[in-house]
Symmetry: C2
Subunit: 136 residues, 2 copies
DNA sequence: CTGTGTGCAAACACTTTGCAGGTGT
DNA sequence: ACACCTGCAAAGTGTTTGCACACAG
């Protein structure tokens, strides 16, 4: 059984050719991908609608997490080992390089933020833009 | 001359009924607004396309700034006094309440983040989700 | 075998572009 | 008067829904 098969199983997902394909694309890319990015990387005859559903499923099951974009779109990135169907543990910074355009997860914790009285934080999303190590 | 007239002038914008209307909506709402929010608040016969262009213009001139959304859309909020056509000075936290759904600018600074060697930060966007003071 | 995933068609929503005419300065 | 803004039409793009069939478990 392949690596992606295992991964899918771990997340309570049936292993189908389409899902394996999408998962491969995530595994091959270290940066976050938009729906469009993935679509372009898939065999040209792969159904667009199925991809929408696949991504939604991956998201629901916790295989991938959302990455915000400054243009107001969404990207997706594989979750690390701390995540399962049960829960997520994301507290890292997302970095978008304005030169190469790639957005990636950095291994940097988001510092605790002191909010005004009465506000309670549940989830935090931090997107930093600038130039990445490859484009410097 | 009205308040919104002044504001528009300050940002090198012609004062037109449509722009005043949009600006009023921002002034009346303390939270960030999406294109759809604004459209719903405008007279029903107001042209959708003009609104796209108006928001883009406001953004370009620095009258409003982008507010990211976790669903992958964009919202807009009035800039504070530190902003002008010349430049922005945004370094505050955006908070989205998962109960009332409102996103607002908090008067809380985003702390400095130490990035890995070679990364350079230019702009930072922080969205915190949770429950706000009104919904607690 | 059964429930879930897929592909197709169509509807729907969102956003952009071009142009003719109107309006602020 | 001139440059810019607006409204309309149309095209382009992105996303959702329903249904019949295929397939994994």
């Amino acid at each position: 059984m392949s690596h992606s098969d295992h991964l899918l199983k771990n997340f309570d997902l049936r292993s189908t050719p389409g899902r394996q394909e999408v998962l491969q694309i995530f595994l091959k890319n270290s940066h976050a991908l938009s729906h469009g990015d993935i679509e372009r990387s898939m065999p040209k005859d792969f159904d667009r609608v199925t991809l929408y559903r696949t991504l939604k499923t991956f998201l629901d099951k916790g295989l991938v997490h959302k990455v915000l974009d400054d243009e107001g779109g969404l990207k997706y990135a594989l979750c690390n080992n701390n995540c399962s169907t049960q829960g997520h543990h994301h507290n890292h910074v997302h970095f978008k390089c304005t030169i190469c355009g790639q957005t990636s997860c950095l291994d940097v914790e988001i510092p605790g933020i002191k909010l005004p009285k009465g506000y309670k934080s549940v989830e935090t999303n931090l997107l930093i833009q600038g130039t990445c190590v490859n484009c410097a």
